[in-house]
Symmetry: C2
Subunit: 147 residues, 2 copies
Amino acid sequence: MSQDDVGVDLDTSLGYHLKQAHSVLRSAMDAALRPLGMTVPQYACLELLHQRPGLSNSELARGAFVSRQSMNVLLQSLEREQLVSRPDQSPAGRALPVQLTPLGGERLRAASAAVSSVETRMTQALNINQQQQLRDLLASCVKALSE
Amino acid sequence: MSQDDVGVDLDTSLGYHLKQAHSVLRSAMDAALRPLGMTVPQYACLELLHQRPGLSNSELARGAFVSRQSMNVLLQSLEREQLVSRPDQSPAGRALPVQLTPLGGERLRAASAAVSSVETRMTQALNINQQQQLRDLLASCVKALSE
DNA sequence: TGACTCATGTCAATATTCTGACATACCTTG
DNA sequence: CAAGGTATGTCAGAATATTGACATGAGTCA
């Protein structure tokens, strides 16, 4: 296909493969989290908070690769469900440190197990070395595009 | 971080690396296409049509990993801009084969070059073997999640 | 032939996300 | 100290995508 001088062959394009892999993973995570009444962005936010408690809204947004406005509406819904908490006043600057509530931690555990299972399924055909290779290759792509 | 029994370590998680790489690539493509007045989904649709002329709305949707409703509104805007064309009546079944117009092909060429340059930049630190490895690893992940 | 299943195109309503904008708080720098 | 720059939280509006639903056309099978 495509005897073009300049162009992109979708079967060869790494970008297309990346997009496809992301899409399939997203669908699988969606399906795994749905029975738990949780969405992927919600899970991402909780997982982020679990590993780095006290992150601010903006920091969470960067970590989840969304705008801080989107993360804010997400946090509002999580607050309504009592899964996270924010102080009324900022201890320093404007940033409000977000904390996981006990209930949030509980819900996260189940979600984390579900997601972990999906990731295991995704990489079941890859050995440890290959998994590390994939990590490194992806990191190289990220680094190259970030400068 | 995370001495948990069950959980996901974001620094290790392949899913997180995948999400990050996808996000960075998407931003870079966005920036590259903006001067051309084109969005990433629009480009994806045109590129798909170039390599497989006559694809239907539903087929395009699957190829671009969006719902067929989203692809439909996308096609409507592309039709309005005279970049693609659809027959008034279906030649067989309900599917309407979409075609790239000459203008669409022209616009695609510029967009394709821009995207190609982004992809080259993304993989600049990878040799041919590594690029093929990355393709194969991603394909393995897709295959594993698709069954 | 008739009933069933499946894929498609499309309409409507909803949800999600983004961009633009503004005020606030901290931090430099002159 | 005052001024500019940066980061943050938040509001409002627009763009984008999704789900749900329905009718149409094609193929299958009894």
